[in-house]
């Protein structure tokens, strides 16, 4: 009998195989058709109809595991991380649990179930489910395996991050007082300095994290999550070579992935390759979905609140123009192709997304509290996290506190975080502290390629020209700071922009500086520009080898010289003004050595040159005008704290020279103006034993025939030991 049993069983199975029960088969086919229709609808984006169709498939065949699974995935897709929106999550959970009950060893079902648990913040169970799914690895395809490794890697990463910066207070110190920290950043700095840490904390988690991320990328080289988290790790531990290699590898595997380009740009930025970084960032931003791009490009987060609101109220072209104008104004060096601060901003955004982003909740890193602070103020000087305490405020109790300190003077930020969770939020009053700080200092920028940005003394004077305004720019480039070792090559440039940041004039050149040159290189430029246009004049110089740069940015309102109406040019202060010809009629008839630093030694003459236009002639062809020049002591430079204090008191009581007139001149001139409408004027003044300080020079011109009064003014300073600036021909 026992020999007959196998053939009998085989025959039975064969009969069952070719003749399945007719009712069940029909129902399954119908269910399958409904399921396929649901899939089609889901792909078309009609989730509601898709759900209805798949629900019908489940009703037709309650043992249809795949249909339960799809229903769960669709419900999960409709749910959000909001605690109140639990109905969809419950439906999703029910459907996925049924699918798993029917097919308990399906890694894909377990993966989606784990992800749903994550969204429900049930992290321990989620981790267990992921691990179980991974243990069933042979049934998982590469994509599922990659996702499982990634999710488990993120768990390990959370643990590693938790312990990486873990500090402990020395005996008798701590915990930190949030209230005091807000008022006194130095207190936090000192406590952090005295706190200590143990080596090797969280290393096992780090190893496990790296192994999981690597395994995820081995299974799916284009896995964005695993790649970006691995990149964040390399970046933070300073493994730049590996960071760059990984970024390039990821881009080769996923060439359409914007995060890869941002990561590559971040690495290039740190390496000082700004132009390449800017290119990589630009490409990454272009690849972003429009809704993310708009948010990413908005600089509202680094503006004071009122300006941010103004920017946010703009749309379309106006908004694009405002952003463009903002970045031109922010560009510290127009001489370089890349905007260093813009690249720095995007690099911060990229890092914030790499490290603080929560894609599973649809939260980009720059929208988190830590990301917001990172983007505005960059990397903190000190970071420390402290283990949960049972005391303190209710929201800090049993939560990890992470402290970011930006130096002794602050600012300081505290964040709270539940153990085992990645989200961190401002602790206590730090949200309002951050808000207040934003109105005082909305952002802080530096850049790796801006070794130092030295100020350049510049004098800009505007005169009338045939077509508008002739702008003279005289600059004293500090060679001793730019090229401290002696000679070399210097990139120099002068740029004139309008108020909206559009470039009106650009002149860039290379200067070969020989060793032994004077410490200051005076350069002058002349540009013809439209009248009545507010201008921004930027003079820049940069050593291309050391990246040491100098720049000055002068902002000035529009000036116009209306034909037929009396007007006056700016005052040009000079160390020397000489006549080239008797009876000068134009600028070229003078030899002028402008003083770009607007600084003179005591008792040295201060020369002034200016032009008067279209003064009204009398019937005999003579213009008659009165000049009134006054020099007022605006500030006295005092050495030493005591002198400064006494001087300040004397200034307030009105017993010092501050506010007093050092010079007042008034004289009348008559000039024949037939066949010309320009009167060049020059003056020299010598102050009698002037104290070192800042002086205000004001010139009032009264056209007696027209009864018009014109005013022009300029500040200068008197300093001991400031020699005259050398002469330089205008360019």
């Amino acid at each position: 009998m026992r020999y007959l049993l196998p053939p009998l069983l085989g025959a039975l199975l064969w009969i069952w195989g070719i003749h399945p029960p007719p009712a069940a088969g029909a129902q399954s086919q119908e269910a399958r058709a409904a399921f396929r229709e649901g899939e089609r609808l889901a792909q078309a984006g009609d989730t509601t109809l898709a759900l209805a169709s798949i629900r019908r498939a489940v009703e037709l065949d309650p043992a249809f595991a795949e249909a339960h699974f799809r229903m769960g995935v669709l419900h999960a897709g409709l749910s959000s991380g909001e605690p109140r929106e639990f109905r969809e999550r419950l439906s999703a959970r029910g459907a996925l649990e049924r699918a798993i009950r029917l097919d308990p060893e399906n890694p894909l079902y377990l993966l989606e179930f784990g992800k749903l648990l994550l969204r429900q913040q049930i992290r321990v169970d989620a981790q267990r489910v992921f691990q179980r799914a991974l243990d069933l690895g042979e049934r998982a395809d590469a994509s599922t395996q990659a996702e499982l490794h990634f999710q488990l890697g993120v768990f390990r990463e959370t643990q590693w991050l938790r312990f990486r910066e873990r500090h402990r207070f020395p005996q008798g110190l701590g915990p930190l007082s949030e209230a005091r920290a807000v008022r006194d950043p130095m207190y936090v700095w000192d406590v952090l300095e005295r706190s200590y840490t143990f080596d090797g904390q969280g290393e096992a988690d780090r190893e496990s994290m790296l192994a999981h991320f690597r395994a995820a990328l081995a299974a799916n080289p284009a896995h964005a999550g695993a790649a970006t988290h691995l990149l964040a790790y390399h970046y933070e531990v300073g493994a730049l070579d590996e960071f760059m290699a990984e970024a390039q590898r990821f881009l080769a595997a996923a060439p359409g992935e914007w995060r890869g380009y941002l990561a590559l740009g971040l690495g290039l930025h740190v390496l000082g390759r700004q132009e390449e970084a800017a290119g990589s960032f630009r490409y990454g931003v272009e690849l972003m979905p429009p809704e993310i791009r708009d948010d990413f490009e908005s600089v509202a987060r680094i503006l004071p609140r009122d300006e941010a609101e103004l920017l946010e109220s703009l749309e379309g072209e106006a908004r694009a123009e405002a952003l463009r104008s903002f970045w031109v104004r922010m560009d510290p060096l127009l001489l370089t192709p890349a905007n260093e601060y813009q690249v720095e901003y995007v690099a911060r955004m990229a890092y914030a997304d790499l490290r603080f982003g929560l894609p599973e909740y649809g939260i980009p890193g720059w929208r988190t509290d830590r990301g917001d602070i990172w983007v505005r103020y960059g990397a903190p000087e000190r970071v420390a996290s402290f283990s949960p305490t049972s005391g303190g405020s209710w929201e800090a109790a049993h939560r990890i506190t992470t402290v970011w300190s930006y130096g002794r003077r602050g600012p300081v930020f505290f964040f709270n975080q539940n153990p085992g969770y990645r989200q961190a939020a401002f602790a206590g009053d730090f949200r309002s502290y951050a808000r207040e700080l934003r109105s005082v200092e909305s952002a802080r920028f530096d850049a790796p390629t801006l070794a130092s940005l030295i100020s350049v003394p510049v004098q800009v004077a505007r005169f009338r020209s045939d077509d508008g305004v002739r702008v003279e720019v005289h600059a004293a480039l500090p060679l001793d700071s730019l090229l401290p070792g002696g000679g070399g090559v210097l990139d120099t440039g002068v740029f004139v922009l309008d108020a909206r940041g559009r470039e009106l004039h650009r002149r860039v050149q290379q200067e070969v500086v020989v060793a032994g040159s004077p410490p200051v290189l005076v350069r002058s430029w002349v540009a013809e520009l439209p009248a009545d246009t507010p201008l921004v004049v930027s003079v820049e110089a940069r050593d291309p080898v050391s990246w040491v740069a100098a720049a000055s940015r002068e902002r000035m309102g529009g000036i116009a010289f209306p034909p037929g109406a009396p007007s006056v040019s700016d005052l040009l202060l000079a160390g020397e003004v000489e006549l080239r010809v008797p009876g000068p009629r134009r600028r070229e008839d003078f030899r002028i050595r402008p003083e770009p630093r607007l600084t003179f030694i005591p008792e040295a003459p201060v020369h002034l040159y200016f032009e008067l236009y279209d003064l009204l002639p009398d019937p005999d062809g003579f213009a008659s005008y009165e000049l009134e020049l006054s020099v007022i002591v605006e500030e006295i430079y005092r050495q030493g704290p005591l002198r400064r204090l006494l001087g300040e008191l004397a200034d307030r009581w009105g017993v010092s020279e501050v506010g007093e007139e050092a010079v007042r001149l008034r004289f009348r001139r008559e000039e024949r103006v037939v066949a010309r409408d320009v009167i060049p004027e020059y003056l020299s003044i010598v102050l009698d034993e002037p104290p070192p300080g800042r002086y205000g020079l004001s010139l009032v011109i009264r056209d007696r025939n027209a009864g018009v009064e014109l005013v022009t003014a300029r500040s200068f300073q008197i300093l001991e030991g400031e020699g005259p600036a050398p002469e330089s021909p205008p360019r």
Binding site: D241, A245, L271, T449, G486, G488, V545, S546
Partner: protein
């Protein structure tokens, strides 16, 4: 009323927990292979038990009736169990940390000769009697026997190559090649007009240089002295993808070029590829020992690749070694490989059997080595985190250059 016997339950429970902890949570696999011992957990468990248990045992009974466990006979075992558990857990953490720090192989105490730098060193160029350190935020010329480093302001140099015959150092950045005089320890340098930018540079001889850029390799000839130095392109070799590193073989026209996926042998005279091999890891850098024909490719956390490069037309990957957690840089010299292994230290491997490398020494007194490279008379090891450059003279003390076993001095 709870019977007195219940007071002994907690210690029993704790003991069970302890046993479970000990047996159900073994040390991580990577640690278990080479664990140097797990005594800390037991020592700290004992200490914890004594510290908490003894005072509790000697204390008077609690005056206030808080529950069933007020007598020292009950409190002491509970306190001891808590102390043992806490001590055990702390000790376990220490054991694991120690195990992770411990790489198989004996400890190597190397004489340190380090120089602190005012910037983070990214690359080092060996020069006669010293080295030039390059970083994003500066460069410095160091002399081993002499004054303090001459710190220059040149920034962002990606790589450099020395030409001792000309007393010249060439460095490269994406915007061009820069020339510095080695004779005067010049750190100002000048941009060579019209020179190609790049990310790597290798000296091919006294008059020839290879510049690695996005498109491949440009072979340039040096023309004139330092003051009027010019570069003239004599040929290019495409590497298909951006080169990561290049290693010239002295006395030949052979240049090994490493890209993200490939290692290729390039003839710098005929500008053609002789042969190549796929690289199965993400490479960070490479080194070649012409004498032994061995090559190594550093792959960060993906390990070290050992190659047979005796036949340039057919290079062969012999082995991928993953015994070192982070291979940030590697130099092969004879049968020894020197590995900058980050926080794991400085590791020396023996390649007598390239298919089964063995750790012959690990030094932990060089900080976190982030790169290693061949110097004029030894090795140059950088520590990015501590901003230090170390020189190690070869042979290392206690380690024969042939790769014989290290003997405890």
């Amino acid at each position: 009323v709870i019977p007195p016997s219940s007071s002994v339950r907690p210690p029993r429970g704790c003991a069970v927990v302890l046993l479970l902890l000990a047996f159900l949570h073994p040390t991580a696999e990577v640690v278990a292979q080479d664990a140097p011992g797990s005594h800390r957990r037991w020592l700290l468990a004992l200490a914890g038990g004594v510290v908490l248990g003894l005072p509790a045992a000697l204390a008077d009974p609690f005056p206030v009736q808080l529950g069933s466990c007020n007598e020292p006979g009950c409190v002491a075992p509970v306190a001891a169990a808590v102390g043992v558990t806490v001590g055990f857990l702390l000790g376990k953490e220490r054991d694991e940390a120690a195990a992770r720090r411990f790489v198989a192989g004996p400890r190597l105490q190397l004489p340190r000769e380090g120089v602190a730098l005012p910037f983070t060193p990214e690359r080092v160029v060996p020069v006669e009697g010293g080295a030039v350190a390059l970083g994003v935020s500066g460069m410095a010329h160091l002399a081993w026997e002499g004054p303090d480093p001459t710190v220059g302001s040149a920034r962002g140099m990606a790589a450099g190559a020395a030409f001792p015959e000309r007393g010249l150092l060439l460095t490269v950045r994406p915007d061009g090649v820069f020339a510095f005089s080695l004779l005067f320890r010049d750190v100002r340098g000048r941009l060579l007009a019209g020179s190609p930018g790049g990310t790597g540079i290798a000296a091919l001889g006294p008059d020839q240089v290879a510049v690695l850029g996005g498109g491949g390799i440009r072979i340039l000839e040096l023309d004139g002295g330092l003051a009027e130095l010019g570069l003239r392109e004599v040929g290019t070799a495409s590497s298909g993808e951006p080169p990561v590193a290049a290693a010239p073989v002295a006395g030949s026209h052979l240049l090994w070029v490493l890209t993200r996926t490939r290692l290729a042998a390039v003839d710098t005279e005929q500008f053609r590829e002789l042969g190549g091999v796929e690289i199965p890891i993400l490479p960070l850098g490479m080194d070649v020992d012409a004498a032994s024909g061995l090559g190594v490719v550093a792959g960060g956390s993906q390990g070290l690749l050992i190659l047979d490069l005796t036949r340039p037309a057919e290079p062969v990957v012999l082995h991928r070694y993953t015994g070192v957690r982070e291979v940030k840089g590697a130099v092969v010299e004879g049968r020894l490989v020197y590995v900058a292994a980050g926080d794991q230290g400085f590791v020396v491997l023996d390649l007598s059997d390239p298919l089964a490398p063995e750790v012959v020494g690990v030094s932990r007194n060089l900080g976190d080595p982030s790169s290693v490279q061949r110097g004029v008379d030894g090795l140059l090891v950088t520590d990015r985190a501590a901003r230090r450059l170390h020189r190690l003279l070869l042979p290392l003390p206690g380690l024969a250059p042939s790769g014989d076993r290290w003997e405890d001095p």
